[in-house]
């Protein structure tokens, strides 16, 4: 009952629609960006195949992977943080949380319904983003094998080659792996939200702190600090696109993300149980 009600409230909030439209806009701009890049590099004869690593490797799978990577790093965690930030503080500000708790409903159940719904939303958003990126890649760029080269994106440290079928299987595996990675920023924003009285404050703080942690994690000099930040682990799913997956390394990052998620959830739940609604 409460789960259905919360799902309906989420849908009516239009946050899912806004997130989907923003991601679609992002993919279209990525496509235009790659097209103009190819055009400038080929002196007018626009071909998506031209990049500096290799003149013939860029195709729809590469487009989907690059688009998903950029979207995952810069957009999906923001939407997850927005969702987490809005779930508790959003209800608290308008008095909806007080109303909900006048019903025979435990705080524990309410908290985990909200957390579960936000996690499901993040997972579905990730899956849809990946699927649409692949679809656009197929229709606009065309498919082939997936070739990756070392470079600025740090997508791989050795040249990789995956046949199309194998690459699609890796994309399928990347969905749950990336979904797991999004749980940490989501739980982090839930924790922030459990302290805030207004959704704007909660979302703003969660997004700002996520960006701070993300930037710090990207600074390569801070190698001693990086393992302590959840943002250092979130792009671990890139390891799925190696010819030979380093399962041990993947498991270490996944375990760290589970640890951060459980830690933030425990902190959020502890605060939620103790806070007084007025």
């Amino acid at each position: 009952m409460i789960a259905g009600l919360e799902a309906l409230r989420l849908w009516r909030s239009r946050r899912p629609l806004v997130a989907l439209l923003a991601l679609l806009c992002f993919l279209v701009l990525m496509l235009v960006g790659f097209w103009t890049y190819a055009e400038s590099r080929t002196k007018g004869a626009a071909q998506f195949e031209y990049t500096y690593e290799n003149r013939s490797y860029f195709n729809g799978l590469t487009f989907a992977l690059y688009a998903f990577y950029f979207g995952f790093v810069l957009l999906l965690p923001i939407f997850a943080a927005i969702e987490g930030g809005a779930q508790i503080a959003g209800d608290s500000g308008g008095g909806a949380l007080t109303l909900l708790l006048t019903r025979p409903l435990s705080k524990t159940r309410l908290f985990f319904v909200k957390a579960g719904l936000a996690a499901l939303f993040s997972l579905l958003l990730t899956g849809m983003f990946l699927a649409v990126a692949l679809l656009i890649g197929l229709c606009a760029v065309g498919w082939g094998p997936l070739r990756l080269y070392p470079g600025v994106l740090q997508m791989t440290d050795t040249p990789q080659f995956l046949k199309r079928g194998e690459a699609l299987m890796r994309f399928a595996l990347a969905w749950p792996a990336a979904g797991l990675a999004l749980l940490a920023p989501l739980a982090f924003s839930l924790w922030i939200s459990s302290w805030a009285k207004s959704a704007v404050n909660a979302v703003g703080t969660a997004v700002a702190l996520y960006l701070v942690l993300h930037v710090i994690a990207e600074v390569h000099f801070f190698e001693d600090l990086r393992p302590w930040l959840f943002t250092s682990h979130t792009t671990y799913w890139r390891g799925l696109f190696a010819e030979r997956i380093d399962l041990r390394e993947m498991a270490r990052h996944a375990a760290a993300l589970v640890g951060f998620t459980a830690l933030f959830l425990a902190l959020a739940f502890r605060r939620f149980r103790r806070r007084e609604e007025t």
Partner: protein, 270 residues
């Protein structure tokens, strides 16, 4: 304990277990592993080292004040093949050879040198060779097998010249008939480009690195940076018939004015 408290306790427990799992120690190769590997039968130890440095912010080739540290390093590490950069045969070799007392007892090392690079073999023999500019190519016969070896010191400040220098040596090395090849030196490529604005054309650097990495195995891939602040400028590549055993950037061997650490790789024939 109430239901909420039990769930919270469970979350803390999951967090603790997950963090414990994430910090489970892996076993990266250590210096002692590499030293042990050097002594293993059938392994070849190859080292590349830019022995130049900087003083008062100015780059300089090999400096005699660094000689004791370089001699100590060569005798301690005891590699079979050494690729040197910023090292001039005409002015530096006699002093270095005089210092290498222990190794000289087993016969003088072989050397092929050109410009500011040198290929030195402490085991086996060097023969043939194309020596142009800061690049050297020759054959190294060791344990009854012949390996084509290339050593280059690529220009630091111009990506186009760097690409040309690397490409010239690599092209000739890859055109040789023998299956076994080792290519290395100070390529001045920093593909990760995480540190600074080192290159005037990062795309060109990425391209030449990937061209090489598609044809030869990058042996020092996981060994770490060789120059400050965290740049991997020194490389050793090998053909597929040479299996890498260990790769290490050896810290603590630099002389007072030097700015590169040596990269040591142990290999064995497949």
């Amino acid at each position: 304990m109430a239901g909420g408290a039990r769930i919270e306790a469970a979350l803390w427990l999951v967090a603790a277990l997950a963090f414990a799992g994430a910090s489970w120690p892996s076993a990266p190769p250590t210096k002692s592993d590499a030293k042990a590997a050097l002594r293993e039968h059938g392994t070849l130890a190859v080292m590349t080292w830019n022995v130049g440095g900087t003083r008062d912010g100015r780059a300089h080739p090999f400096d005699r004040t660094d000689l004791p540290k370089v001699v100590q390093a060569i005798e301690t590490i005891d590699s079979d093949l050494l690729l040197l950069q910023e090292f001039r045969y005409s002015t530096d070799w006699a002093a270095l050879r005089a210092g290498l007392s222990d190794l000289r007892r087993e016969g003088d090392p072989w050397i092929k040198a050109s410009g500011d690079v040198a290929i030195v073999a402490f085991r086996g023999e060097l023969h043939g060779g194309e020596l142009t500019g800061n690049a050297a190519l020759c054959q190294w016969t060791v344990d009854g097998r012949t390996i084509e070896v290339g050593n280059v010191h690529a220009p630091a400040w111009n990506a186009r010249e760097r690409r040309r220098a690397i490409g010239n040596v690599a092209d000739r090395l890859l055109a040789t008939p023998g299956p076994s090849r080792i290519f290395g030196g100070d390529l001045n490529l920093d593909v990760s480009q995480r540190s600074d604005l080192f290159s005037n054309d990062p795309d060109s650097d990425v391209a030449i690195y990937n061209w090489l990495a598609e044809r030869l195995t990058d042996l020092g891939l996981k060994a770490g940076p060789t120059a400050e602040p965290d740049r991997r400028l020194d490389y050793l590549f090998a053909s597929a018939d040479l299996a890498p055993f260990h790769a290490l950037v050896l810290e603590g061997f630099r002389g007072p004015t030097m700015d590169h650490d040596p990269l040591l790789v142990t290999l064995r024939f497949r």
